[in-house]
Symmetry: C2
DNA sequence: CAGGTATCAGGTCAACTGTCCCGGACTCTT
DNA sequence: AAGAGTCCGGGACAGTTGACCTGATACCTG
């Protein structure tokens, strides 16, 4: 086994845990399977993390930050409002279709966090960050394009966040990706109608 | 212990499992905790169900049917379209606020079903039934009120299902129930705009 | 009331999981 | 090169969990 500073080992174990959890599900991922996925012995795990919970906490924050950056990346301002919304949805949707297990895992971890005493704040943080990402984009667009919103920014941001969340979950359960792009088009038109 | 035909015992155990899972979470619910919740000994459990999986299957189908009937109950046709949509959302939302653990449990079980080999169909069935419930209501309204839809029924139904799903999940994570009624109003207006 | 069936209680078992311990090996400083 | 600090490996342990088994008990049929 290659020797490695524990900070880097922690990152490696976190990444291995994400792979194992995405593959097997959170419930079926054990400290042993994580260690095996990382290619280290079990004791290394407990050398780097005080407990499995500490590792899960690291996994959640890491994955949340990744997910939020996916949203931020997708939501780049374009020439027109409709174009921005449509391109944003498309970019996000492409990511969902390309990495369904990753999105599935975020839902699982959200519920894990809600159930685990002392972890609720991690679930909330995730959803708050989503909302903030949307709100920031809206504010930015409003300034750049001199838009007038028919609804408060916070309402619109939460609507978008909940919308994409629900669509993603439905896609993960039902599949049939094509059917959902029609819905995204409808929503895009709706958003465009909410601004002046 | 009162003697009881096994069919009724199964119902009793299913109900006890739902209570235990809603309280403790699916992952932390064991055969022992279910038996204790039902007030029977562990052996009764394995007398009535071949395995824990068989019980979980019973729980999922029972809860799915309950959830769908909640949706159907909420979506009763009223005088006008907007009134129908608004009242439907309100009724559904009241149910979510009154029984958050029950809704939480359905999300947990959906993911459990998606992860458990041979159970995927139960997750899909749940979401298909939601979609069908919405589609039926839309068809019915269209006939009664002579509406003309701007989008296909299937698109609208899936949109509504995903929408409520996402809003519910966001509420369960973030709380703050008041903030979401504004969003439901926005969506209501959107739906009203989609018909002629 | 006898015999058979349905139901229950407690104990047992093997497998798995998180955690920990102890000895050894590597690395860097002095 | 020697020692301290850091990292790694294998094994062990206690607790939990799903599953099962053997008797005992209640109910019903004839």
């Amino acid at each position: 086994m290659a020797r490695m500073p524990s900070a880097e080992r922690r990152r490696q174990l976190t990444a291995a845990a994400i792979r194992a959890m995405a593959r097997d599900g959170v419930a079926k991922t054990t400290t042993r399977s994580i260690a095996a996925e990382a290619g280290v012995s079990l004791s290394v795990f407990h050398y780097c993390f005080d407990s499995k919970q500490a590792l899960v906490e690291s996994v959640i924050t890491t994955l949340t930050d990744q997910s939020v950056s996916v949203v931020r990346e997708a939501l780049r301002p374009r020439d027109s409002l409709e174009e921005t919304v449509a391109a944003g949805f498309r970019a996000y949707w492409d990511h969902v279709r390309a990495h369904p297990e990753a999105h599935m895992l975020t839902y699982e971890l959200t519920q894990y966090a809600l159930r685990e005493p002392g972890f609720e704040h991690l679930a909330r943080r995730q959803y708050e960050l989503y909302g903030e990402a949307y709100a920031e984009l809206i504010e930015q667009l409003r300034g750049d394009m001199d838009l007038e919103l028919g609804v408060p920014v916070s309402v619109l941001a939460r609507y978008l966040a909940a919308m994409t969340d629900g669509l993603t979950l439905n896609y993960l359960v039902l599949g049939d990706a094509a059917a959902w792009s029609d819905i995204l088009d409808t929503v895009t038109a709706h958003i465009a109608g909410l601004v002046r």
